[in-house]
Every structure is written in C-alpha cells, then in structure tokens.
C-alpha cells in the first residue's frame, strides 16, 4: 500500500544554507490493514516521514508510492484525492481556528461532498467517541490542549479513511485519554484501516505489540514485528 524506497530528505538552513539531513536512505513497505509504529527520539525524522507521506514536503532522493502512485510525481489534483483517503493527526494540530469544533470535523466531509444529513450523523458520532459533543459550538481556542488533540483525532477519523497517520497523537493527553485513543486506533485497525503511529511514548509501543520501525538521526535502524521501544 505504502512503499518508501531509499528516501532521503535534506533541509537547508535558512541562515547559511547548511544542509540538515532529516531522513537518509529510508526504505520500508506498509501493507494494507497493518498497524505500524514509528519510534525515535525527538529530531529522529518521524514528523518529516509523515510530511513526505502526505506530500506536504518534497523528497530530496528516492521514491514514495501510495498504491503504486509516485507521490513526488503526481499532479496536485491527484495528490488531493490521495489526501482525502488519509486521516492525519498532526503533532501541531493544524486546527481551523476560525471554525467551530463541529465545523473543523465536518470540513473534510464537506470537501468530499457528503450530504448534510450524513455529515450531521458522522460528526455527531465521532464527537461522541472523543467526548467533545458538548463542545461542538465552541471554537478551538476555547478548548484545552487535550480537547484540541481529541478534536484533531476526530477530524482525522470522521471520514473513515483507508489509512490513519498519527504524529504524537497522545502528547497532550492524560493516561486515561491516552489509553482510550490508542484503543480507538486499535479498533479502527481491526476494522481494516491501516494505522501508522509516530510516537516516542514507550508505554504505548510496548503495550501494542505491533510492528515497530525505529528511526535514529534520520536512518531506519530497526524494523520488527511485535517490536519493543528500544533506543
């Protein structure tokens, strides 16, 4: 489903154009319905990997395929079609601050052309799951950090994407909410959705017992099924 082939990403410092290698020669394949965790310390390249996968950043070398389509070479409208199939939980949330909680979640469904009735039903359901139904009319800036994170998760899941990519989705959640959200990811994975989870939370990884890809300084150093968080 997703294939990284010798992918490298180099950023250039805006001050002195000094090259900073974020990813170096990374290769792996994610099959449909898999649950893959990507672990690594801060700056290991987890977020860069997510950005490359959704086409937010351009790769420097290598190829990324999503269902045999080369993400670096497809037209922008094709990329937008792929993005609709992916639900992303961003580390920095990327909420629409001019829209209410309800509108943040419904936006993707409106983009996809769902009917108003379907939107009302699906948004209400997902807001119920992340326990934000009472906050539907609030604006994101009126929510706590944890609520904002749950809102991002609701937005990523509402359209039942084929693949969910979550970049540090529990960073602002208490242990109880963390447990619930990870369980939610497990459930949607069991129902057939591919999940890619980038995190540096050892407890989550050890508790999942799923495939773990470990990054260190931009390099893939370990890729094992039922892996543990080892750094």
């Amino acid at each position: 489903m997703i294939s990284f082939q010798n992918v490298s990403k180099i950023y250039y410092s805006s001050v002195n154009s000094y090259p900073i290698t974020a990813l170096k020669d990374v290769s792996f394949i994610v099959e449909p319905k898999e649950f893959v965790s990507i672990v690594g310390r801060s700056g290991a390249g987890k977020t860069t990997l997510v950005k490359l996968l959704i086409g937010e950043e351009r790769i420097t070398e290598g190829e990324i395929f999503f269902r045999n389509k080369n993400i670096a070479r497809i037209k922008s409208n094709e990329l937008q079609k792929i993005r609709k199939k992916i639900g992303v939980v961003y580390q920095d949330y990327r909420l629409l601050f001019s829209k209410t909680v309800y509108e943040n979640v419904s936006y993707i469904l409106e983009v996809m052309g769902f009917s108003d009735q379907d939107i009302a039903r699906d948004v209400s359901r997902i807001l119920g799951i992340v326990r934000l139904r009472e906050r539907a009319k609030n604006f994101p800036e009126e929510l706590s950090g944890g609520e904002q994170q749950r809102l991002v998760i609701a937005r990523a899941l509402v359209h039942q994407p084929e693949i969910v990519i979550a970049d540090e989705p529990t960073g602002n959640l208490d242990p109880y909410n963390t447990f619930e959200i990870i369980n939610l990811f497990k459930k949607i994975n069991e129902s057939g959705t591919t999940v890619i989870l980038a995190t540096h939370d050892k407890r989550i990884i050890d508790g999942l017992a799923k495939r773990v890809i470990t990054l260190e300084a931009g390099r893939l150093i370990r890729d094992e099924q039922g892996g543990k968080f080892i750094l």
Binding site: L96, K99, Y107, G113, R155
Partner: protein
Amino acid sequence: MFISLKRVFKFAWQGFLRNRVLGLEVMFIMAIAVFLITSLFLFQGISDFLIKEVQEKVDVSVYFKETVREEEILSVERNLYKFSNEIESVEYISREKALENFIEKHKDEPIYLEALQEIGYNPFLPSLNIKARDPSYYAPISNYLNQDSLQGIIERVSFFQNKKVIDKLSSITANVKTVVISLSLILGLLAVLITFNTIKLTIFTSKEEISTMQLVGASNWFIRGPFVIQGIFYGIISVLAVNLLFLIAFAFFSYRLETFFLGFNLLNYFQMNFLSLLWIQIAFAGILAIFSTLLALHKYLKV
C-alpha cells in the same frame, strides 16, 4: 457541484460574519476606491454639461445693413438651410423684433429704456441667428457668410467676436478635465494598491488555515471560492455605502451647488444615471476584489 457551490457560499458568509474587524478595514479601503471612481463619473457628467452649456452659448449672429430688404434676408436664410447637416436652426429677427426683445429684457432697468428714448429711433439691425449642430460646423457656415456676394448686405458676423472667448473657455475646461482625470487615476491606482494590500493582509492571517485545508484534500477552488465571494461581499457593501453617502450629500447640497455648476443638478444626474453608475461601481469593486484575492491566494495554494 451544486452542493459544493452552496458550501462555498456558506463558508464565505461565515468568514464574512466572523472577520468583522478585518472586513471593516477592507470595506473602508474599497469604499475609498469606489468613491474615487464615482467622483470621476460625476466629474465627467459635470464637465460634459458645462462644455455643452458653453457650446450652446456659441451661435452665429449675422447683422444686415439697415437698408437691406426683408426678402433679401429671407433669401439668405433659405440658402443657409442647404447646410441641413450642419445647421440646427436659423431664426430671423427683424429690427422691430430686436427692439421688442431689448425692451422686454430691460423692462426693470429704466436707464436702458431712457437711453433708447434719448436716441429717438430704432438702432437695432435685422439679423439671422444661426445655431450649428456642433461648434466645429461654425467654420464652414462662416465661410459661406464671408463670400463676396454677401458682403454688400452684411454689416457684421458676430461669431468671430465670440470665438476667442469660447476657445479660451473650452481650453480651460479641457485642461481642468485632464488634470482632474489624471489626479483621479493616480488616486484610484493608489486606492487599488492599498485595497490589494489590505486583502493580502487579511488572507495572510488565514495562511495556516489555507495550508490545513489543502492537507485535508480541499481543491484549490474550494479554498479560493469563499475568499473570493467574501471579497465580492465587501465590494458590494462598499458600493452601497458610497452611494448612500453621495445620496445624502446631494440631498443636502445639490441645490446650493446647482448655482455654482451653472444649473447642473447633481442629485438629478445621480438619480438618472444610477443604474449605469451602479454597474460601473460593482464591476470595478468586483474585479478589484476578485483580482486581489486570487493574486494574494496564489502564493499559498501551491501544492
């Protein structure tokens, strides 16, 4: 398609209602631009009226010698009607009629009437008063009147005495028109640039959201649409505000300004030309809003 369009309008309306402060700034700046365009339109109307007024004052009066018989004058009049393309009207004014006109005109000014009595006879000459369809036609008419065969009966032709004054007036009007149009264009251009920058600023504040919208798969037109429509809303409100302002100002000052503009009634002109003016204003504000929004968004919509 219809459902997407409906949503684009919904987002535009939401944005319009939620960004009131920025919206007010944009509307204020756009109103200045529309005000300048409207002023230019009104000035055009005023200057056309004034030029027409001046042109209407231009006529050729041919004064015949005292001894010339009425049949001869009427024969010249008949010949003048051969210039049917150039001449609008020819009026014969006999000596008696000229005297009558003078008395009527100065009935409240006894000094003139006393002077007339002092002379003791009718000093007025018979004349033909000629009005051309356009001031440029006076030259061929004058040439006709200057031919040798008529010199024996014509005392003088007044056109040449008025010509200098009229030319001077036309030149002043044309110069003032050029200066005002140039100034308006410069100010209009400034207003356009300021409007563009204000719209750019409002879009800049949304650049994070635009990026997020792209990342969830929204197409460019789905992102652009609400901003463009919001810009058009701002434009329409600016146009309405400017028209309301002019209407109120004219309702109060039009009467006073009428004397200043030689009888030109601004309120009447504004009302009579309101539809065409409205089209110009809406087209101007709409194009300005659409163009500025698209240009400002272009930078943020590169996938």
